[in-house]
Subunit: 165 residues, 2 copies
Amino acid sequence: MNEDYNQNVKKLVEMMEGVRVCMLITREKDSEDLSGRPMNVSKIDNDGTVWFFTKASSPKAAEIEESTKVSIAIANENSNNYLMIHGSAILVNDKIKMKELWNPILKAWFPLGLDDPDMSLIKVMPHEVNFWDSSSSKMVVLFNILKAIVIGKEYEEGEHGKIIL
Amino acid sequence: MNEDYNQNVKKLVEMMEGVRVCMLITREKDSEDLSGRPMNVSKIDNDGTVWFFTKASSPKAAEIEESTKVSIAIANENSNNYLMIHGSAILVNDKIKMKELWNPILKAWFPLGLDDPDMSLIKVMPHEVNFWDSSSSKMVVLFNILKAIVIGKEYEEGEHGKIIL
């Protein structure tokens, strides 16, 4: 855990701060196919760990039990926030952690609240983070994003980087 | 090609109409890892085919040559547009098609214009489309999105569906 590592994680946490919804991508059981769905980000820890609530009986929970490899895709045109995170996921059935992350809005899906026996957490530990962002004007950002994609170079008025965690 | 099929494709085209940037996910060469990057959508045809411009020498072009399996992730919080598309991709080196899809903004990445020998098109033919959208208010949408995700049911004030093309 050197200084670069800490800086990279800090950057990731900053980029994730405004993200409410992302696409969580898992591997389908018994196939090479992918499966993705929008998920509400419950929390990102200071070490980069991302937390989601899920039904323990959901297909995605079964998929994570089968293969821990997951990806998180964020592509927000409005905020020019583009992130592709690859990592390992596990299901966590820790009631203390659930209580810590609990938000009243979750009652809509867990009417029993924290007593719901089908509640579980998905904990994603990122291994690799690719990002494309910029604080410059939209037009320049679009230019730079595409430049970064197509040419694979850092773009001038934003940043394009690959964080290895 | 029955009526349902046509309706499904029409729905997909409608949902893609406002999308400028999506995350294009490919399989990394010689590994099971995924690779994703934001891409500008050049066009979606009436039959659901999605087109992108790329450098023929880019890693993603090599990845598509190795494995045609790709996914497109769209997760736009602001427009509440959530789409996960799985399909097959091929590289297309058809100058007539490039001319048809050409947009002056592309000059930034292809200064030689249509004469650039490293220009190629990525053609994605969707097989499966998952979507979560809604025309209702944001709060209700957030509720419904999560409900759809977690419980896997259709949500009341929006739509959650799986289109098999």
